[in-house]
Subunit: 397 residues, 2 copies
C-alpha cells in the first residue's frame, strides 16, 4: 500500500499554498538540499577533479537512468540521463531518420509540445533532403501512418488538455507500416505506470523536473530499445558518448549501448538533486498512484462543474484517457489564473484559453482539490480576475 501521507511529508510545501503545478515544476523534496550540499562540499569541495571517479559522478547518468528506467518499464542499461529534453528529442529524431533513410516523413500532432516540433523543424532544415514534418490533429494520427513515415514523434500526454495517446496501439500501427516510434514522456514518467518495453517504443525521452521533482532544469532522459541501440549512429556525437572518451582519439567511435547517447559533461548538481528526489518512488505503487490521480481529478471536475458555470472542461472526461492533469477553458483564463495564483492556488495557463492544473497524489489530496475549486468559484463569482494587473502577461506563464 502506498502511504500518501508519508509521500506528502517527503516534500516541502509552502504553508497556505495549494500547488497544482507539479506537472510544470515539482516541489522541493526535503532530501534534496542536504544531498546537493554533500555533493558540493564533500565531493566537489574535497575531492575536486577526482570526484569523477571517487564519488562516482561519471557513472551517475547511467545509474540514475536505471532508476528512471524502473518507472517507465525500461530494462537496466537502456536509459541514460543528460542535457535537456529538446536535445534528447533531437537525438532520437536524427537517429530515427538515419535508420529509415528512404523515408521522408516525421509524423506528429498539434498536441505535441512545441519544442519537439521546433527541434524537428531545425533538424529538417539542416538535413535539407526534402523531409516533411507532418503535423495532424491528435485524433487523426493513426490515419496518417503509412509507408512514407520514417517515424512517429508524439508526446503521450497533451501538455494542454492532458489527453493521453494509446502508446501501444499507435506504436504497433507505426511498426506495421515500417516506421519507428519516438515517445515524449514529459507528462507520463512519474504520472502513471508507463511501460516502454511492452509498448514497444523505439525511443522514449522525457524531462525530470515535472512529476519526478528534480528541480528547475533537471537533466532529461533518453531510452533506446535495446534491439536497435547498436544501430544508432549518434548525430550529437560528444566525447562522453565515445567508446573510450579518455583515449582522446581524433575519430569518433560510438560507445557501447545507451552510452552513445551521452554528449558532453553532465550537470552533476542537478543529477544529485534528481537522485535524492527519486527516493520517494521506492515506496510508491504506480497502479495505486494512477487510481488516486483519476479519483482526485474526477473530484476536481465534479467540484468545478458544480460551482462554476462559465468554464468548460478541456480534458477527457474518461480518466483512463487523461494524464495526471486537467484543463478548463475560460475566455479570460489567463487573468483568472493570475487571480488564483494570488490566492496561493498555483496552476498555470496555456494559450489560448486553458487553465491547467496538475494533480499529483504524492502531495495533493481531497482538501487541496476542494479548496482550489472553491477559490475558483469565488474568483469567478466576484470578477476578482478582472483587473489590469491580472490581465498583463508575464514572460513566463
Amino acid at each position: 500500500m502506498t502511504d500518501f501521507e508519508k509521500t506528502r511529508r517527503f516534500f516541502n510545501l509552502p504553508e497556505g499554498m495549494i500547488y497544482l503545478d507539479g506537472n510544470s515544476l515539482g516541489p522541493l523534496p526535503r532530501s534534496v538540499p542536504a544531498r546537493v550540499e554533500a555533493m558540493i562540499r564533500d565531493e566537489w569541495g574535497e575531492m575536486l577533479i577526482t570526484g569523477w571517479n571517487k564519488a562516482g559522478w561519471m557513472a551517475m547518468p547511467r545509474r540514475v537512468g536505471d532508476r528512471i528506467g524502473r518507472l517507465i518499464g525500461a530494462p537496466a542499461g537502456s536509459v541514460v540521463m543528460g542535457d535537456t529534453l529538446s536535445i534528447k528529442v533531437y537525438q532520437a529524431l536524427a537517429s530515427a531518420l538515419d535508420l529509415r533513410p528512404e523515408r521522408r516523413v516525421i509524423l506528429s500532432d498539434s498536441g505535441n509540445f512545441p519544442s519537439d516540433l521546433y527541434m524537428a523543424e531545425g533538424l529538417l532544415k539542416s538535413l535539407d533532403r526534402g523531409h516533411e514534418l507532418k503535423v495532424v490533429a491528435p485524433e487523426d494520427v493513426a490515419d496518417h501512418i503509412d509507408e512514407s513515415v520514417a517515424c512517429l514523434m508524439l508526446t503521450e500526454v497533451d501538455y494542454r488538455t492532458g489527453r493521453r495517446h494509446d502508446m501501444p496501439a499507435l506504436t504497433r500501427r507505426a511498426h506495421d507500416a515500417g516506421a519507428l516510434a519516438i515517445w515524449d514522456l514529459a507528462h507520463s514518467a512519474g504520472a502513471f505506470p508507463v511501460d516502454v518495453r511492452n509498448g514497444k517504443a523505439d525511443f522514449a525521452v522525457g524531462c525530470t523536473y515535472k512529476y519526478l521533482n528534480s528541480g528547475p532544469g533537471g537533466p532529461a532522459f533518453i531510452y533506446v530499445a535495446p534491439e536497435i541501440t547498436e544501430d544508432v549512429r549518434p548525430a550529437l556525437s560528444g566525447w562522453l558518448g565515445h567508446e573510450a572518451p579518455f583515449a582522446f582519439d581524433l575519430d569518433y567511435r560510438a560507445g557501447q549501448g545507451i552510452d552513445r547517447m551521452r554528449v558532453g559533461t553532465p550537470a552533476m548538481l542537478q543529477m544529485a538533486a534528481l537522485d535524492a528526489a527519486l527516493d520517494v518512488w521506492d515506496d510508491v505503487d504506480m497502479d495505486q498512484l494512477r487510481a488516486r490521480s483519476i479519483e482526485l481529478i474526477d473530484l476536481f471536475i465534479a467540484e468545478v462543474e458544480a460551482r462554476c458555470s462559465d468554464v468548460t472542461l478541456a480534458s477527457p472526461r474518461d480518466g483512463t484517457k487523461r494524464g495526471s492533469q486537467v484543463g478548463f477553458r475560460h475566455p479570460e483564463g489567463y487573468a483568472v489564473m493570475q487571480a488564483l495564483i494570488s490566492r496561493g492556488v498555483i496552476g498555470d495557463f496555456r494559450a489560448p484559453d486553458i487553465m491547467r492544473f496538475g494533480v499529483t497524489p504524492l502531495y495533493i489530496g481531497e482538501a487541496e482539490i476542494i479548496g482550489a475549486a472553491k477559490h475558483l468559484e469565488d474568483i469567478l463569482n466576484s470578477n476578482e480576475w478582472d483587473t489590469p494587473a491580472y490581465r498583463a502577461r508575464a514572460a513566463v506563464t
Copy 2:
C-alpha cells in the same frame, strides 16, 4: 592591484592538497554552497514554478552570459549560457556551415579537443552533403586556409600542451578567405585576457567548470558576433530560443539576437553555482593574472628541469605562446601522475604521455609550485610510481 591572497581565500582548498588541475575542474568557491542552497530552499522551495519569473531564473542565462562576456571582451547581450560545450560547438558549426552554403570544408587541428572534432563528424554525417572535416597539425592551420573553407574551428589553447593559437591573426586570415572563425575558449576564459571583439571571432564557445570554477557540469556559453546574429538560423531550435516561447506556436521563429542560441530549460542549480563563482572576477585585473600565471609556470618549468632529468617540456617555453597550463612528457606519465595524486599533488594525464598541470594564480602561488616540483623529483628518484596500482588505468583520467 589584484590581491592574490584575497582571491585565494575565495576558494575552499583541502588542507595538504596542491591543486594543479583547475584547468580541468576548478575548486569550490566558498560562496557557492550558500548561493545554491538559497536557490533550492528560498526560490525552488518557496516560489516553485513562479521562480522562473519572480526569482529571475528565466533571465539568468543572459545575465550570467553578460558576466562571462566581460571576461572575453564580448559586448553586453552577445553571450548566453546553457547546455554543454559540445552542444554549443554543434550550434556554432551548424550555423557557420549554413552561412557558407557553397563551401565544404571545416578546418581544424589535431590539437583541438576531441569532442569538438567528434561533434563536427556527427554533424557532417547527418548533413551528408560532401563536407570535409580537415584536421591538420596546429602549426599548419594558417597554410590550409583557402576559399574552400567554410569555417575554422579551433580551440585557442591546446588541451594537452597548452600551446596557444594567435586568434586575431588566424581569424583575419580566415576572413580574408571568406571563411568564418569559431573559437573554443574552454582553456582561455578566466585563464588570461580574451578579446573576441578585437579578435573578430564570429562564434566563441566555452565551458565554465575549468578556470571559471562553476563546478562539475556547469553551463557552457556561446558568443555570436552581433553583426551576424540575425543571420543565424539555429539548427537546435528549442523553445527557449523561440521569439515567443510562451505563445506555444506550432512553428519556430528564431528569437531576437543571442536568445536564439538558447535551446531547452536551463540547469538553474548549476547556473546559481556559476553566478556565485563569478564574483571573484570583480576584483581581478586580467593582465596581472596573466603576468602572474606566466611567472608561476616559468618557475615550475625551471624547478622541474633542475630537479628531474627524465621529463621533457611538452609546452611552449615562451609564456606568451601558452595558456595557463604546462605539460611534461614522461614515458610512464600515467603512473607518475597517479603517484603525485596519492601525495596530494593533483594534476592530470593526457594520452599518450603528458602530465598536465594547470596553474591558476587565483589560488596557486610559489609554495605550491615548488612543492609540486619537489614531489615530482622524489617520485622519479625513488621510482615510487612503479607499482601495479599506479599503472592500472581508471575510467576517468
